[in-house]
Symmetry: D2
Subunit: 278 residues, 4 copies
């Protein structure tokens, strides 16, 4: 088995734990690779073990950090490599274990005593082409100028679903349903549901409602505001300005995100965390 190790760059505790994980796995006889950005902030790893995330070909990536770190890894890796997340963030909807459980978790992993939790991702097509990362959480189409509404229509499987004047539109996976989509009024979506949440962000019309559509749907967005650019934000990580004339289309990606889990528990695991959001 080969492992990758990535840590949150702005937290020394995370970097140190990453080094201990790296050391433990090396000593246990495995090949271990480290993300150069992690190395940059903690230059104690062997230089020969550095491999950029987009070239990493390993069996598992151990990510020490918060949900943001996992999203960063997801956006950079090219293959659906299973991720074991060790929580060094706040709530940790995506991470699986707390720091004190790290080596216990690694042992279970090495013994094969785990389960792979596959999560759907969303792929965005701009004028028919996909050249932006897949979303594990959400695709957000936002007004280019905060406070100025964007006027748009969106279609589900070619049928007009709604026309909204709002700060934007959030299109979210079940994984992302506890994030931005929930701030916009969307529901919690059980990860076992093969569905997508669509939620307008601060819409003018009080009758605009979040909806849940099949993950097999094609969601097409057309911008009616012609005078300013819009923003496409993916997972709060990738940002780009787009002309209002583009045709945006969002569909389930052929790729999945794979998480190493030690239990199949959904409740109260995620719903408890919702209550702790702050």
């Amino acid at each position: 088995m080969k492992f990758g190790v990535v840590a949150r760059r702005d937290k020394e505790e995370a970097l140190k734990l990453a080094y201990r994980v790296y050391d433990f796995l090396k000593v246990s006889g495995y090949e271990v690779f480290v993300d150069p950005e992690t190395y940059e902030h903690f230059p104690h790893f062997s230089k020969e073990d550095l491999v950029p995330l987009n070239e990493m070909e390993v069996d598992f990536i151990i990510v020490i950090g918060g949900d943001g770190t996992i999203l960063r890894v997801e956006h950079k890796t090219k293959k659906d490599i299973p991720i074991l997340g060790i929580n060094m963030g706040t709530l940790g909807f995506l991470t699986e274990v707390e720091p004190n459980e790290t080596f216990f978790a690694l042992n279970k992993l090495m013994e094969g005593d785990f389960y792979i939790d596959e999560r759907i991702k969303l792929r965005t097509f701009i004028d028919g082409k996909n050249n932006v990362p897949d979303a594990l959480n959400e695709v957000a189409i936002l007004t280019g100028i905060p406070g100025k509404i964007v006027h748009l229509k969106y279609y589900v499987d070619n049928g007009l679903a709604d026309e909204v004047r709002s700060d934007g539109l959030i299109i979210s996976t079940p994984t992302g349903s506890t994030g931005y989509a929930m701030s916009a009024g969307g529901p919690y979506l059980d990860p076992r549901i093969d569905g997508i949440v669509i939620a307008p962000l601060a819409p003018i019309a009080l009758s605009s409602r979040p909806m849940v559509v099949p993950a097999t749907s094609t969601i097409d967005i057309r911008i009616l505001t012609t005078t300013r650019n819009i923003i496409l934000a993916i997972d709060g990580q990738f940002y780009t300005y787009l002309s209002p004339e583009v045709e945006i289309s969002v569909r389930k990606s052929p790729r999945k995100t794979k998480f190493v889990r030690f239990s199949r528990e959904v409740y109260p695991k995620y719903t408890l965390k919702i209550k702790k959001k702050f």
Copy 2:
């Protein structure tokens, strides 16, 4: 082919149209049966054609009325007989055609030019036994005294999903998602989603959120308020008071509701109606 005909009892226009439908189908050579309650309010049907809904064995039931009339038919029929709904209500989320399209729709039906839209229903078990109707829209567990909260816990597949102090809890099918569940803050659920909405009704805790769980889930509710009875309301049609000590369990029913449809359109058909709710 055999037909059943049922009309909304409080609207003469609906009763008259029911008679014209009955007459048209008889003249066309079919066996047609009429609900005795419809007859009671419009005693022009042949007495020999009267058959109570719970004994009707026909190929299609033509329902002239609103969503309430369809729910009443659903609660009384014993088999999953396809329903063609002619809208004599307000919005008509369940009905398929407007009154002026009636005979056009009947012709398409007779020619076989239609499609059957199957909708899931929810079955409620009280202390392990099911002796209440299946819900096409929603199962509502409500405080027995309006204005006094009920304190309850609910579990999804044996995991604690939430503990709420509220006016009640709405457990809704996709079909019911535009009804009571939406008034409680729930999302629109595309009918193609095999899911269930769970929405607390006016919860004290501001962090309690509607959720969408797989339709294959078992939802168990335990009442913690011990001093007063609760109400179980199914589809706004069937009501019963229950002791707070009962164990309530809700699961997908083996039965389905079948609707005759002339198109597979979902958008904007349903989402437009949401905006017209008043």
Copy 3:
């Protein structure tokens, strides 16, 4: 100075503390009276000191309990006697001190080192007559049958404000804005605002919104559902069924509720408690 003492009846700790307060005040040389219901659950007070709440003429009432106990006292007393609330409930939006601060607070009270916080109340007129208690929190007009909507119109100063189909309508003081009105989606209303929150409860129309109107307004409610009685609930304490034909009118009461406070703090005192609601 004369004192009244009232305790929550279902909590021995509260009853015991009430006795200690009673004893302390007696020993300090004051006249102290006790609510007979408190005596009934803790028969150690002198029988000669028993005076029913509706006959109590004292300078201060010390209430040991939760918000419900204070609301019960408010509904029974005939004069606007200042209340010092000692929190033996959960959040205690109305109470001023925690049990461990009791004697410290009593000393400040005896030394005159306090401030009176006057809160508005709402008076309800049914067909022009007032024979129900004033509301310190809210007047709720509710469907008589949970799960069946009530259809009503309400007018502010004779102008039609909204027509709603809902589980009911909440008319709340600033004091009550953290209670039932907030569960219905209403805002937090600073107690210094001379206003009233009107919030529909689970309305069918998604465009129905909570509103805040001047406390000098007359709010008239007309019920359009003619087939079943409605419920009038005041502060979750007083309940009555009413014919749908009654004319209900709600106005600011000439009475106020007076609370003994030791600081004029509003923030974060109340807003912190909102976050702890569960």
Copy 4:
């Protein structure tokens, strides 16, 4: 009496009506001045009557346009000149009459048969200095990067009211309560209430609620996100980027906006328009 005339620049119908109003008032013997921007789009007014808005000293300004046009006039004029708004926008919360009532309204105005509706405005201080326009609708403190939350605390009269991670914070007058604040979940605030709505925009914490505080309050905002600039947007008209280190303070302005009204009606005038928002 002297008049000013201003029209929406992008609608020929509005410009033409402005000319007819100008002509009618001139013929009636009044001094009439025209905004140069209106002239630029419709160069038929006498050049000698051109006076920039910030130098206009007239008794009334007739504004032909939507709410945006009125907000533009408000931001530019230096004195609290009464405005008569003729609706050439969509809903027209601020305008008083429809185009077909124009000359009827002008006659009433000349006869003195009207009433002045004074509305409060909000003044914003940045590091203690006010150099931005007053807000008739709202002051919005927004994330500089759409989709990236801003973390802030806000204080009411020096007490911490809430700490939020959100897309921003809306601080709104009663006039603005039907606008951006309502999209953020805020209530309708009757214009007679001397209060301010504070509403977080898409907050992460589900327990963050809109609140209504006295208009006499000082609202202080401190930004905890240190890495990026924020946006201050006033009435959707004035925009500026600010360093996260600034101290922002919002208070009621000494200035008011004055509207010419022909009735004191509040209901259903404004509440009906809420339902028509789209």
